[in-house]
Symmetry: none
Subunit: 237 residues, 4 copies
DNA sequence: AATGAATGAGTATTCATTCAT
DNA sequence: AATGAATGAATACTCATTCAT
């Protein structure tokens, strides 16, 4: 009943209503009629703009992935590539080697900026992410969310963006990044509101705390002035 | 149609069928009739044993928690305590300090054994975990899965075991453990089958790779002979 | 999608699209949106030209009847009458009697020409006829197609043309003409395209074959030089 | 609302209700809820017994065809085959030749009995036939009613019933039988009730009149003591 | 312990139709 | 003449659940 009424055009209202309902009760449990009511439109109009409930979800996820891609690409270009061109890190088969302390610092700064942007992005889009995660847990045949995530990890979705160097992550590294960077990031966003309530901490504190954790993880990949691209921790220590 | 037929009694077959279907398609999307068909029983019999679909889910989650009790998820408490009693690590306000190399080694060995047990446990129970995760993403009012997880982290399962020492994790540390240990662990299990297919790696390789990643994370908390209980990475580096 | 596009004005395109769709899938099963798509116009335009789907159907049936007027379906009246006036067949209460062979021949020739015209007419208008037949099978209250057909048989289209002679077909004869001449004719047209495909025969062969069958039927009413107007086959043989 | 209520089991009531509604208003225009109401059951029960509205129709038509097949087969075996075995008609490539008047009489008697049974059958099943005809006019892709009819004509559905002699109808003869025997028969039944009202004749009179017309058609295939299996009327007379 | 029959309350989706522009 | 947006009223179909046996 929260008619944003004549506020914004109908299609937008449908999308936003669907988003918040999906995130709140889950995709399956959300009724088309609820979306309609919340958007202040008739059910029929929903079917005028979308072929069905599924298509609303696709639309939501699609536009999320597009936004995400642009952030990542931006970092790769303005962050890493710029530094590489300046010759600061040497690209070696299994690592980036920084010739001096300054390079390391600069890189870490750039990385931290990127992390901040990413964390802000996922917090902002936590609703869709929650849906995305929930849906990825339902293994319908074919591409489920997981494989989309992996595509992202192995060079940001757009394969044509083969940014100069052509190193490939090892299987170990992919798994590490998936379960100890990407998934934490997504679940952090997905559970953000719940966690805030349970922990009684303010949003800003959560954000800072999570960012710091990300730093720890990043530093764990550092070895002196090298940043490992392969996971070399001696196995079975 | 995979009637395990007269193999095992009906109730068990119902539970197993529900388990695998919930894990596969999600709770909402699983039809009681599907469970019945897969279990080789009639729908009515399901209602003879359970009050409804919800009760099957409760039963599943319940049995997960019971199984969890069989493994010491609160190793940190019991494992560490044992060592502490032996006087190996000194408990300091913000860290465990190992007096010698031997202590460190012993501790790490002990930790690694624990990790192996935990990873095997979650892999074994990956189906229920998948359901658990999926359901925790639906914020129905009241206790969702997340707060249960936090309880585990903060106190170990058994609250009464607040034995002896009274250190409390910092908020930072709780968040870190949740999003960079527990969640990775659970999602690793939940996505295990999917990931195996997508990555084309054998189960054993995934297991080893994940265990190694856990080690990396653990080591990142080490600082010489100390294991930090608070996340001290200089903020805002 | 077969936009005849700017080819012909919109109204015509709507009519033609509706015609072919009604004939193909039936009136009920044809969606206004399908007509619009096929005609290359918007749904709204259809409502600009017609008050609704029903009116398109009325228009179609109406135009069938108008076309029918262009051919002398009441040949029996006009054709025969002409010959009668020439004194060729003697009109007797229950039959036409031909005084000589020449009259018979002339009559048969005339009849065959008529049949050809009629068959060509129905083939040409097979789509509307198909719709007409299909609709006549739905017994909505009131005049359905059947009574219109009977009117044709009994009086020729134009009731006022009850010219001169006043013979009336017997009930037997009306039934015979309906089910063994008119209906075969209409169904032949209605099923023409289907039958062509199923039988793998060319259109011309079907036409010839059907015309020949009509001849057989006609001859069956002949008895020497008489053409029976009543069905005299000794009953209950 | 005509609950035959506890009269007969539910499935039968559903079938009968559907039958009469389909025949009355057409398949498309009949609502599942109407069937349910008329049968005195809930909609859901209809879906318990049938997969959908379509399946009810299939069931109806299927059982009609089965009944029809048994009548035809019966005639072929007890009627024709018996006479052939008695040697009465000689089977020739393009005709049956009767050696004497007695044979002809006997055959005609047998044929007339068959016609009576068939006509009674179609009148009795006029409702389903009406549906069948109406549906056959909608050319959905694949087997429509027409091809089923043709299969019947070319040796009664069951091809394995290759009753001794192996003559094949000519294309002309098939077309003739379809449009001047089978279709008249079916439409006669389909329009029976309407026609009775319009013509104001009693059912018995219609039946007799139609039977007589069938006789006329049959006789038109006779040529002295031969019954033609091919249509030999000299073309283009 | 087990089931076939039965149902109430949805639920997504459709579609002819309208209307402001 | 033409249309994109919008809708009310259906409608086929679903599904968790019940119950008599």
């Amino acid at each position: 009943m929260e008619h944003n009424s004549q506020n914004g055009d109908a299609k937008e209202r449908i999308i936003h209503s669907a988003l918040s309902l999906f995130a709140q009760k889950g995709f399956d449990a959300t009724r088309v009629s609820e979306i309609a009511k919340k958007a202040g439109v008739t059910k029929a109009l929903i079917y005028y703009y979308f072929t069905g409930k599924d298509e609303i979800l696709s639309h939501l996820i699609h536009s999320l992935l597009e936004k995400a891609a642009s952030i990542t690409l931006d970092f790769i270009h303005t962050g890493i590539m710029r530094l590489v061109k300046e010759g600061l890190p040497e690209v070696q088969p299994d690592r980036l080697h920084f010739v001096d302390e300054g390079g390391t610092k600069k890189f870490l700064k750039s990385l931290h900026d990127y992390y901040e942007r990413v964390v802000d992005f996922v917090i902002e889009n936590r609703q869709i992410l929650r849906i995305f995660l929930a849906e990825s847990l339902k293994s319908k045949k074919g591409k489920n969310g997981l494989s989309q995530l992996l595509d992202y990890i192995r060079f940001g979705k757009d394969k044509s963006s083969a940014c100069g160097s052509d190193f490939r992550y090892t299987d170990d590294m992919v798994l590490f990044k998936l379960f100890f960077s990407v998934i934490p990031l997504l679940t952090f966003a997905a559970y953000f509101d719940d966690y805030k309530i349970i922990s009684s901490l303010p949003a800003s504190a959560l954000r800072a705390s999570f960012l710091q954790s990300l730093q720890v993880i990043t530093l764990s990949l550092f070895s002196g002035r090298d940043i490992l691209l392969r996971n070399n921790a001696e196995r079975g220590t």
